[in-house]
Point group: C2
Chain length 315, copies 2
């Protein structure tokens, strides 16, 4: 299958591996790109020099297209973008900020720019900024999330109605069946985070991967809504947050509780008690840590068998 | 298409109209059943004698199968069930309670029993109770909702994995595209609430229907989590609830704020300021009040064109 997403990125499958903090270094991104998807580095958890090192290794590990996810609210943005341009990164996914700020600058360097949104308002801003595609991410996604709490099932048709941009669905997608569902809703590609966070090539700590595999329904919650909403896995740290929420704590109290480096502590250093563990609802459907190639094979065959089952079916 | 759901209910389309409080009386249920779906009365907002009256009118208005939705936690349950049995209702959807209590009693009268759930735990209870099918309802659904906050996209595959029962998807479904998405995830039928609540035949107050049509992304929120989670449309009453939530109010304070008859006030009497307006996220995608036949036609053609678009598509 060829569509606007495979053509835009020059990839075999319209499957993007989300650029996640602490999980997606060069090993994961190169494995996904080598398997025919689009691998992304997660620059959100990298100092500029770390990003540069990962880019060098990534380019040595794959000849296929790859990209970098850049949350625009992080510090040292000028330096990050300078590295991206100098290192000739072909594709950049921006998030958590205004798409107008960097889109044209990057595109003038020949870089394809995709922006991540969670509502129609930002989809329209993306269209105005002239991005090449958008990722629409629903409520069930891990990590930071929109205030509207619109689920992927409701979000994709809304965004499809609002803009003509090539549309990548994210949130709750971890199987070929879910890819087919997203395509039925109008998506032309998918971005998958959690399933790849639990892959062998992910740089997440093994203890965190194990927690993802063990996660059950209701084990993730969208929380910290008085700061920026984020979906976390239930653990002793989350229980503290929940306690604060029930008591009606103030934003400052939440800030103090959160402190600094919680996500690194949990996801990268493996402190599954006191760390912040960002993961999607779909973790309840993830049963094992697998190599990327195996995940990709299952995604592709799951999609194909789902679509074959529709053959001749009419209401 | 024929599948386990169409055969179980003996209907043309595997489309169930949710039995909603204050919206689904005999006019709506008969219109849906006459259009080839399964119409349900919403007994949750009917005194026993009112239910009896609606059943008489419903039976006069359609020769097709129909059903009643019964929230098991409501008072006068014995009387409600007695009427259902005496009036020879062919199908009962139970919710908000233990499926073991009534399933066998109803089935012994030749009634098909379906139970509404929002997690695997209750799906397994349903299997044990021997229900004929289940409705799995996701976070995006209107009205009362599960504590796990699992979205339809994540819930359907989980339930599919856990039980072999015929599976009806609910929550966020208002188009043929969404029906196809639910089927891709493993559902064999869908239950649609919000879109039918806004139909011409719905008994909802016209002012409430107008609010549904005007609703935009983020205009519904899952709230009152310290009592029973319920998805409400944003209005001055919801703003009061939100204010209480931010302050960390106690369950008793929420109970006092809610009082009695809020849903009737809003949904049936049209007090869109002080009433409780229960509706799903998919309201953001509902643009007009339409007759049921037109809605059904759009659902069927939307599904069929979506499935046709998959023809020959392979990853």
């Amino acid at each position: 299958m060829q569509n606007r997403i495979t053509k835009l990125f020059n990839i075999k499958y319209p499957i993007v591996q989300g650029g996640m903090v602490w999980c997606s270094g060069w090993k994961l991104a190169s494995a996904v790109s080598n398997a025919g998807g689009l691998g992304l580095l997660g620059a959100g958890s990298m100092y500029p020099e770390v990003l540069k090192e990962h880019l060098t290794k990534l380019k040595a590990a794959t000849k296929n297209p790859f990209g970098v996810n850049v949350p625009l609210l992080y510090p040292e943005m000028d330096r990050i973008m300078e590295i991206i341009i100098t290192e000739k990164v072909p594709i950049v996914f921006t998030s958590a900020g205004n798409p107008a700020t960097w889109t044209k600058i990057l595109q003038n360097e020949g870089i394809k720019v995709v922006h991540v949104i969670a509502n129609t308002k930002f989809a329209l801003k993306c269209q105005e900024a002239g991005v090449d595609a958008i990722v629409a991410e629903g409520f069930e996604a891990g990590g930071h999330n929109g205030r509207e709490e619109t689920t992927t099932l409701c979000l994709i048709p809304q965004i499809k109605k609002a803009v003509q941009l090539p549309l990548i669905a994210a949130g709750g997608i971890g199987s070929g069946q879910a890819i087919a569902a997203a395509f039925a809703l109008g998506a032309e590609g998918v971005q998958i985070g959690s399933r790849f966070a639990a892959s062998m090539e992910s740089s997440a700590h093994e203890a965190f991967k194990q927690k993802i595999v063990e996660a059950k329904e209701g084990d993730t919650k969208l929380t910290l809504k008085k700061l920026t909403p984020v979906r976390l896995l239930d653990n002793p740290f989350y229980q503290q947050v929940l306690h604060y929420e029930i008591q009606g704590a103030s934003p400052d109290e939440f800030k103090n509780l959160l402190g600094k480096g919680r996500a690194k502590k949990g996801m990268f250093e493996g402190d599954i008690k006191d760390g912040e563990l960002e993961i999607g609802q779909v973790s309840a459907l993830i049963d094992k840590v697998q190599p990327v190639q195996e995940i990709m094979d299952e995604l592709v065959s799951g999609f194909n068998s789902t679509v074959e089952n529709f053959h001749g079916i009419r209401l």
